[in-house]
Symmetry: C2
């Protein structure tokens, strides 16, 4: 790679703001052909259920099942996949799962209530979803870590039943994914995918139970299907390309920083990797590391294109300005590779996850530190959060009104209801007044 092909920017240059905006710009293409295809598949699954599922699985996955029973992957097969793993991998998966579980236990919210002097009691009940669906992509993007990260928060929340769908093109089942499902405690697994699997989970079929929420990544068809069933079921965010932003004081090994940029860029060509540093010399050292390390990377072609198209090494005035730029970018992953990283983290208002200190590479968080690797992309960290236990819990308000409480509240409600022209609201409150209203 010619290292000149990753752009260098300077925050003091005229037009820097515009250049940065152009670099960040990314819009999911709305493809009408995909929209139409997905609408058709969903309507068909809703109408014909299992029969449609079998047909689409035959067509898209070249998997000719005579019945839905053949498409269910039982706990026995999940356990066999786990038992068949190379011991080092199995230990790593189990260690990662244990850490992810321990971290997410901290996120479980509890019901609460309080009682007022007149006996009126108010609060909120926090309950798990009855049933959740987990979409796992097939083929090359079938990541066992993604199974752990999506399934474990649901189980920690106490979701009653967790149904996983994973396409198995030509019948090829990925043992790592099945083993991860077993470790995470997934309840049922079906070898189906695409928009048809999303439809099955959203509407239910004779075989596949209807779920309350669908999470997990997928291709453009899956994303469009999730968008369409939203409202019938809950969904997680629709993710954009993955992003890393690194703030470095210039005193971390440049090879480490180069490899951290690679680890984002290797995901796909649209992934984004940006370095912010006040040290111009460090930018050159990182560029040299990039040049030296890239040829040995198995995914060098993807990394090179991602860095050339969407990457940048940015010289900033100081670390204060780096934090301001980070807030503008609102990155999915933010590494703060400095001494006393908390000092800079305190200035960050928008990021999916902050990796603090020179030793906290993003990859540690991707797999096993404990926090979730499903994070808000494309500046949505301004208003959304990492996937968590809270995505599998929901709240019900509790309002118990005493006879005495109804006297106070009824007068207020009556006045406001009349003000809004809603007389039945007013009368309903007035009926509870001791004067008879």
């Amino acid at each position: 790679m010619n290292s000149a092909s990753i752009r260098r920017l300077d925050s003091t240059a005229a037009g820097f703001g515009r250049e940065l905006d152009a670099l960040l710009a990314w819009e999911a293409s709305q493809d009408e052909a995909i929209e139409r295809a997905v609408a058709g598949i969903l309507a068909d699954v809703r109408r014909r259920g299992d029969e449609a599922i079998l047909e689409y699985t035959r067509r898209f996955d070249r998997l000719d099942a005579a019945s839905m029973a053949e498409l269910e992957i039982g706990q026995g097969e999940l356990q066999a996949a786990l038992d068949g793993l190379e011991p080092g991998i199995r230990a790593a998966l189990e260690a990662a799962a244990a850490r992810v579980r321990a971290y997410h236990e901290h996120q479980r919210a509890a019901s609460w209530s309080f009682t007022e002097d007149d006996g009126t009691r108010l609060g909120q009940a926090v309950l798990p979803l009855d049933r959740a669906g987990l979409y796992v992509p097939g083929g090359k993007a079938a990541y066992p870590s993604s199974v752990l990260m999506n399934a474990i928060p649901a189980k920690v929340a106490g979701v009653g039943e967790l149904i996983m769908v994973v396409p198995t093109p030509d019948g090829a089942r990925n043992p790592l994914v099945l083993a991860a499902a077993r470790i995470a405690g997934v309840d049922r697994v079906f070898a189906i995918g695409g928009a048809q699997a999303v439809g099955a989970l959203a509407y239910g079929t004779a075989t596949i139970p209807q779920v309350d929420k669908i999470v997990g990544p997928g291709n453009a068809y899956v994303a469009e299907a999730k968008r369409r069933v939203f409202g019938t079921v809950g969904i997680d965010m629709i993710a954009g390309p993955s992003e890393i932003l690194i703030i470095c004081d210039g005193r971390t090994d440049p090879d480490w920083i180069a490899m951290d940029l690679f680890s984002q860029a290797e995901h796909d060509e649209m992934a984004q990797a940006i370095l912010l540093t006040p040290d111009a010399g460090f930018i050159e050292r990182v560029a040299q590391s990039i040049e030296r390390l890239l040829p040995a990377m198995p995914r060098a072609a993807v990394i090179e294109k991602s860095l050339a198209d969407r990457g940048a090494l940015v010289k900033v005035r100081d670390l204060e300005e780096a934090c301001e730029i980070a807030n503008r970018i609102a990155p999915e992953h933010l590494e703060i590779s400095t001494d006393d990283p908390q000092r800079w983290a305190d200035r960050i208002r928008h990021a999916g996850a902050i990796f603090m200190g020179r030793y906290a590479s993003e990859s540690l968080g991707d797999y096993c530190a404990g926090p979730n690797h499903v994070l808000p992309t494309m500046r949505t960290a301004r208003f959304s959060s990492p996937l968590g236990v809270y995505d599998f819990q929901k709240r019900t308000s509790l309002i118990e009104v005493s006879a005495a409480g109804a006297q106070t509240l009824g007068r207020i409600a009556s006045a406001l209801a009349h003000g809004e022209g809603l007389q039945a609201h007013a009368r309903s409150a007035e009926f509870r007044l001791e004067s008879g209203g």
Copy 2:
């Protein structure tokens, strides 16, 4: 009203399940003309900013402003609206706001972290949104209570700036709404509405700041605009018609129950009001109350159509079965009008809010009990929650890894990354190993 025109159902009758499903069925109509119109308006606002806003406001609200400054409603005017209120109404609004604020204080989540033995520290920072937008409908559905319910959780969360938009057709400004905005602490108010106001908040214009999330109810154009800008900004749920389900043991004054059904039905003709009771005689008594009370209601025509089209008085086997049916319906509002209501509330898994005891009419919660009146409709209580402080807070994961921690985590991450074919992830972890990886 002929009371026969509210349907009676019996849970023991053949076909009850099907009848109930038919009664609950409601789908938001997707209107292509609205979709196209909204897409055009949003694109125009994005391109032309304030100029487009002025033009649409002229066209749709018949309000001819020469500049955006004329469309901003300043704090002085909000205060004047508050000062001009009839004292009883003002006291009621202020009392309601104080109660809503006190309740929502309980919902504020705090940042947390923990440190492991090897010095690795994990946690989550919980932060407010920088800026939120609140849509308030104009005309007859301009409810001051809705301003309080949407604005107060944002302010309790600590949102930096809260921007309200409210259309003022023909220039008519609603003093109750403006007074409520003042009480709730809304920062800026613009007299604009429709899809163009949603676009202004989502993209920002020279005058109107871009927000991070838009909440609040609106007509079909507003709902479609919110759907379209989702991703650029966060949005709250798209609400369906309002619903009440009442479970009663038959020992509450039937007039109270009839009026509670009316209070839902008066919202609009699509609103849904259903009673479940094991007492067949009580059904007749409620029907008689409906017949007797309806003619005096100012909104009798709306109530009558709502009850006829979407209402029901349902005889159930017992209160246990009533709770099962309630879970299937997952109502927005659930009244449990019995002795020991907690006993039955413990069986409810899905409801937006539960009103417990004979004195807890829904209208008390709508205005002033304290919990939010923005609640999940159309069975979405299976997976979503009342509007709350948590809708205006978001989380950032924190991952600080010590040199020692990187040794443990790095080995796990390396094994899993190689398993997934992501070698840069593996190398990035291995670089932090003391052996040099």
